[in-house]
């Protein structure tokens, strides 16, 4: 078994609440078999020995931990705002490090090349300077004042716009992005990436959204986000090394990679190394 280290005592998504059945779902969490099921109508999780694991039901997903979390699962206050549509996008299995999946989510520079004519397009490839910090009071990574031109920023967008972004890493394998809400200026659309680490090189990604969009069909919202993530998957599954390096090694991060660097520094500081490579290849 790989060393789960400090990540053992954190919460991870292990299924969509509305898909649970009494029969349950057998899956993995950090290399260990678990079962996620309904027990008298309430979500429950047990490990391979039958031991009950702690459970939180939040953001449409079931969360559990192999260890003993000393803090509650993070919050997303926008989830409780009236008028937002909460979208459980589903699951996408990706043959990559769970940390790589989060890092890719934080990367803006790939938009024009991977999500061409949707989230980015040439020649609008420049990532303008933005701000990144590790917020000590909440122990989260935040990137703010991010701006990027997008041909179709969201399902609800009509034509290209310069989109404002904020990124937040609130748990080792979870990130939330806030972006310009085309039909409601002044508000943010919220798109979260909840990653279940099956092993160090295999994960299941559960995107979730809280949007102001009264027009689109729910299936269209889901399909739009699934299309984006399927485009990412082909890139993620071919990244080398498979584990996320916490030493830049052969990579040459640039200023556009500030969020990735901050994320890796945060992982390093906390010893969150499940899915990471400590020494450069």
């Amino acid at each position: 078994m790989s060393d789960q280290g400090a990540m053992r005592d954190h919460w991870y998504p292990v299924g969509m609440t509305k898909q649970l059945t009494a029969g349950g779902r057998d899956t993995l969490l950090m290399g260990e078999p678990i079962r996620v099921y309904l027990d008298n109508g309430a979500p429950a999780v047990s490990d391979g020995t039958g031991r009950s694991l702690p459970v939180i039901d939040r953001f449409g997903h079931v969360w559990t931990s192999l260890g003993a979390p000393n803090r509650d699962l993070f919050t997303i206050p926008e989830a409780d705002q009236p008028g937002r549509r909460l979208v459980d996008v589903g699951v996408c299995r990706v043959r990559c490090s769970p940390l790589r999946a989060v890092e890719n989510f934080l990367d803006i520079a790939h938009f024009p090349f991977v999500h061409t004519d949707i989230l980015g397009s040439e020649p609008h490839t420049e990532v303008q300077r933005y701000e990144v910090e590790i917020r000590e009071d909440v122990d989260e990574v935040w990137a703010t004042k991010v701006k990027f031109y997008q041909p179709q920023a969201a399902k609800s967008a009509e034509g290209g716009i310069t989109t404002d972004y904020m990124y937040r890493v609130c748990a080792p394998t979870c990130s939330v992005l806030y972006k310009t809400c085309p039909p409601k200026p002044g508000e943010w659309d919220v798109i979260a990436l909840f990653v279940q680490p099956l092993t160090e090189t295999l994960c299941e990604v559960w995107p979730w959204m809280a949007l102001y969009d009264d027009a689109a069909e729910m299936t269209d919202l889901i399909h739009f986000q699934q299309m984006i993530f399927v485009q990412d998957r082909s890139v993620l599954e071919n990244q080398l090394p498979a584990l996320l390096p916490l030493d830049p090694g052969m990579e040459i991060p640039t200023r556009a990679d500030m969020t990735s660097i901050a994320y890796r520094r945060w992982l390093k500081r906390h010893g969150f190394t499940y899915g990471a490579q400590l020494v450069a290849a």
């Binding site: 030493d247 830049p248 991060p253 660097i261 890796r264 520094r265 390093k268 400590l278």
Partner: protein, 82 residues
């Protein structure tokens, strides 16, 4: 081309840090001179195109696993043509 002083603060006393800085500078293609090394502070002079100085800062912020870099303060020493 520009030359900048990088003041790197943190837990930087690992013996492998200075060689790591030199290797990373070579990889990026910037010149580097080690000016001062203490347990909590390293000063280097870096010379190269501005975008590569940014890349050097990003690399050093992460650094090797045995080092924790708290902050990097950059100070312009001179710019080519100045």
């Amino acid at each position: 081309m520009a030359t900048e002083l990088f003041s790197i603060a943190g837990q930087v006393d690992a013996p492998g840090f200075a060689p790591w800085i030199e290797r990373h500078a070579r990889r990026i293609g910037v010149g580097v001179t080690l000016l001062q090394a203490a347990s909590d502070h390293v000063e280097i002079e870096v010379e190269g195109p501005p975008a590569l100085l940014d890349a050097m800062e990003m690399g050093c912020l992460l650094g090797p696993i045995e080092v924790w870099v708290e902050s990097i303060v950059r100070e312009r020493v001179c710019a080519a043509g100045a």
